[in-house]
């Protein structure tokens, strides 16, 4: 089963920001954590996201799409990064989340990624077939 670990943090706590942790410590600790995930064979993906000042929000109504630029000043916390793990159970995902070397004020959301088989009977078969083909094409691109 796949789980996504979503790091939610106030922007002021990013490395380099006033309330942020010392860069050296963070990078070393994160490096060790990612190495442990890799050694265990559970790491599918891990990425960081640039600050929301570089980001945008798109909303949509009947008129069309509206693009607003960041930073997301009103947000208490912002997605700072994520991991995607392949694990045997929800408990295993939670255990890995607990080991993440992040500090007070940062939260890790643990959310399951569904597999296509779960949508059989829910989404039309031709939609599922089309999605399977798309996933194959994406995998081949890698």
């Amino acid at each position: 089963m796949r789980y996504m670990l979503i790091m939610q943090a106030p922007e002021s706590m990013r490395v380099g920001e006033p309330d942020g942790p010392p860069a050296d410590e963070v990078f070393e600790a994160m490096g060790r954590y990612n190495e442990a995930l890799l050694e265990a064979g559970v790491l599918l993906a891990a990425e960081g996201l640039a600050p929301s000042a570089e980001g945008f929000v798109v909303t949509r109504d009947d008129e069309g799409a509206t693009v607003t630029d960041g930073p997301f000043a009103e947000a208490k916390e912002v997605v700072a990064g994520f991991w995607i793990l392949e694990v045997a159970s929800r408990e295993e995902a939670v255990q890995w989340a607990k080991r993440c070397p992040i500090g007070p004020g940062v939260r890790l959301e643990v959310r399951r990624i569904p597999e296509m088989a779960e949508f059989e009977g829910v989404a039309p078969a031709e939609v599922l077939d089309a999605e399977a083909t798309l996933r194959q094409r994406i995998a081949e691109r890698a």
């Binding site: 796949r2 996504m4 979503i6 380099g16 860069a23 050296d24 990078f27 070393e28 490096g31 990612n34 190495e35 890799l38 790491l43 993906a45 891990a46 990425e47 960081g48 996201l49 640039a50 929301s52 570089e54 980001g55 945008f56 929000v57 798109v58 909303t59 949509r60 069309g64 799409a65 693009v67 997605v79 995607i84 929800r90 939670v94 989340a97 607990k98 993440c100 992040i102 500090g103 004020g105 940062v106 939260r107 890790l108 959301e109 643990v110 959310r111 399951r112 990624i113 569904p114 989404a123 039309p124 939609v127 089309a130 999605e131 798309l134 094409r137 994406i138 995998a139 691109r141 890698a142």
Partner: protein
């Protein structure tokens, strides 16, 4: 450049008022367009927060709270990761994303090693590059 498109939504509101089933087909078409254009690296939905958990790191030990996350006004419902030539290209895809139930789509740049040169020690950057290579091999990348 890589960008992450994060679909943020009011889970409680959407459960009370589920989207039109036509959304499956619209999503399929949108995903197909991105694959045809060669820009889609990944895309997934997330199960509702009732199946999830939140780990907080405020005390001496991390604490785990099970979902649902009823107090959250906005949750991540899914994401795409695109590889494009520019921010403008990422935004043009984001504008076309088929959502219509009051969701918000956050467009965020995915950081690369170059972002951390001079901030992270070189050996850490080298180690990360090696990790990525090993990870790609491990899971068939």
């Amino acid at each position: 450049m890589r960008f992450m498109l994060l679909l943020k939504y009011d889970e409680a509101a959407q459960m009370a008022n589920p989207p039109d089933p036509a959304i499956f087909e619209e999503m399929g078409r949108f995903n197909t367009e991105m694959v045809d254009a060669g820009v889609l690296l990944a895309g997934e939905g997330l199960m509702p927060s009732a199946q999830g958990a939140v780990v907080a790191f405020d005390g001496e030990e991390p604490t785990v709270s099970d979902g649902p996350f009823t107090e959250a006004k906005e949750l991540v419902g899914g994401f795409w990761i695109l590889e494009v030539e520019s921010l403008e290209e990422a935004l043009s895809w984001a504008r076309r994303a088929p959502f219509r139930n009051g969701e918000r789509l956050e467009v965020r740049r995915v950081t690369e090693a170059a972002d951390f040169e001079g901030i992270a020690p070189q050996e850490v950057l080298d180690a990360e590059e090696e990790l990525r290579a090993r990870q790609a091999q491990q899971h068939g990348g």
